[in-house]
Structures are given as C-alpha cells and as structure tokens.
C-alpha cells in the first residue's frame, strides 16, 4: 500500500506528542494570565488550539504525506465552517439599526425604567 503512509516513523510521533503536551501546558498556563481583555485570552487559546490541531492533522493523520485530495477535503470543510460562522456574525453584529442592543433587547423589555432612554434613539448608527 502507500509507502508514504508510514514513512514518518515512531520518532516523529513521539516528538509530535511531546509538542502537543507542551502546548497544552502553555494554553492552561496562559489562561491564568490576564492579557488585557477577555477576547485577547480567547484569541491566544484558539491560536494555540489551531497549532495543536495542525500537528495532529499533519503527523497523526498523515496529511503531510497523504494524497492532497484528503487535505483539500479537510481544509474545505473548515472554509465552509468559516462561511457558516461569518454570515450570522455579520447579521447579529450589525442588527442594531432594527433592534438596539441586539439580543439584549430582552433586558430592556424586562426593566424599561433602568435602561437609559437616550442611547436607544434610532439616530445612533
């Protein structure tokens, strides 16, 4: 069968595992540090996770040496996932013109007295 499938020997697998464990340590450690904002912490965590995922896909799942078609399938599933995330995100983040405060409209309905009346004016765009 495909001689590429196991050209990367056991040594590569061990190194991959070590890298993955170190990255896990880093990501857990980073979660105890405040990088300024909540989104900064999330972005750092996601970047590290993506590096880990790439390592698993390239070495454990053999995409590095495999038929490129399989890598294309893997990557296009991620691209389409990106499309799936992007459009609802555009929608919800730009909905303020119709519904001020987006999904948080419920809180205004529940406590109309406390919500400051001024910023709810339609002119705010």
């Amino acid at each position: 069968m495909s001689e590429h499938a196991h050209s990367s020997g056991a040594r590569v697998y061990v190194l991959t595992l070590v890298a993955l464990l170190i990255l896990t340590g880093i990501t857990v450690g980073a979660s105890y540090i405040n990088f300024g904002s909540a989104s900064a912490n999330i972005i750092i965590a996601i970047v590290i996770a993506t590096v880990k995922v790439s390592l698993v896909a390239l070495f454990f799942m053999h995409l590095r040496h495999d038929n490129p078609l399989n890598a294309i399938i893997f990557i296009s599933s991620l691209i389409f996932l990106g499309i799936f995330l992007a459009f609802p995100l555009i929608d919800i983040q730009s909905r303020d013109k119709i519904i001020p405060n987006g999904l948080r409209v419920r809180e205004q309905v529940a406590a109309p007295k406390q919500a400051a009346p001024a910023p709810a004016a339609p002119a705010h765009h």
Partner: protein, 219 residues
Amino acid sequence: MSSESYGHAAEHAFRQHHFVNSEQQFDTSKLGMWLFLATEILMFGGLFVGFGLMQANYPEAWVAGHHHLDRIMGSINTVFLLCSSFTMVMAVHASSTNQKSKTVLNLLATLAFAGGFMVIKYFEYSHKFHEGILPGRYFSYAGGGPPEQAMFFGFYFAMTGIHGVHVLIGMILIAWLTIRAQRGEFSSAYYTPVDLIGLYWHLVDLIWIYLFPLLYLVS
C-alpha cells in the same frame, strides 16, 4: 482485451470485486473516511458557531459558567486524549509493519486512555448534576449569576455529550479492532480498518482540542 478482467483473479482475499487492485481500494476507503470526517467537522461546527455567537452576546454569563468547570480535570482529560491519539497512531504504524503484539498493546492503551477520559467525564457530570447545574429550564444552581448561564450549560452538555458519544463509539470500534488484531487479521497488506478508525479517533481528539479551551479556559 484487458488482462484485468474482473470477477476472478483476486490477488488477495480482502479486495472487493469492484476494485481493480487493493491500492485503489485502500485509497478509496481513505477518501470516503475523510469525506465522513468533513461531515463530522461541519456537524460539530454548528455547535461551535452557536456557542461563539452567544458568547459574543453574553460574555459575562460565559465567564460565570466557566467558573463551574474544573480546569485541572479538563487538562487531565486533554492529556488523556492526546496520549490516546499517540497510541492509536502507534497501533496503525505497528499494524502496517506486521507487529501484531505491538498493535494489540497500543490499541489496549488507547482504550485505557479513552476509558480514563470517560471516567473523569462521569465525575464532572455527576458533580454538576449534584449542584443543580443542568441545561436549560432544569438549571437550578443556587449560587446566582447571569441567567444565560443556563444557555451556557445547554451548550456545555450538548457539546461534551455529543463528543462523549463519539468517544464511546470510538471505544467500541477500537475494542473490535483489538479482537481482530489479536486474531492476526491485519498485516502490511491489509490494515485499512486500523487506519480508518485511527483517523476517526484523531478527529475526536481534534474536536476536544477546541472544546477544552473554549469551555474550560474562557476568562
């Protein structure tokens, strides 16, 4: 007339009749598995999209929810799954190089790590049930906090639950592989099932690699 006249002349027993040779069969099976993995990614992707959009709207509920999760237990589970992925790929390697006992040992180690993962998951779940941390309208935690925590835990249970089901299915498949490997059914000429289930198992690992920081490490 083609010499590869089909229906007979099977060069070995594992080739199905509609393939010209076993390399074509192996490549095709692998392609099929990758297509299946793409569907898995998009299915879990739906949960991630919903989770991310709601997190953008209710960050404080997400932070509050995450304080109920045990970072240490999550980290141990991550290590378990990473190690199981390693032993799985070693099993694939061993089966493709005719090392029967190494294949069996690595498969058993994979099973053990997966079992450890499920045991920890069981303790995490039962602890939460005990505290009244349940999804949606059954959320009855007494400690207060933003009401959208109920939604956070809706996602938590949906995501880890569906992931857990995948781990369980993987364990059943690996157990089946172990029995077949013990019987000596795999060799460098035929180890397709080990390879394909290996790919599936790595995908279960991949999903956890994203689940872990998103659920346990948001702060």
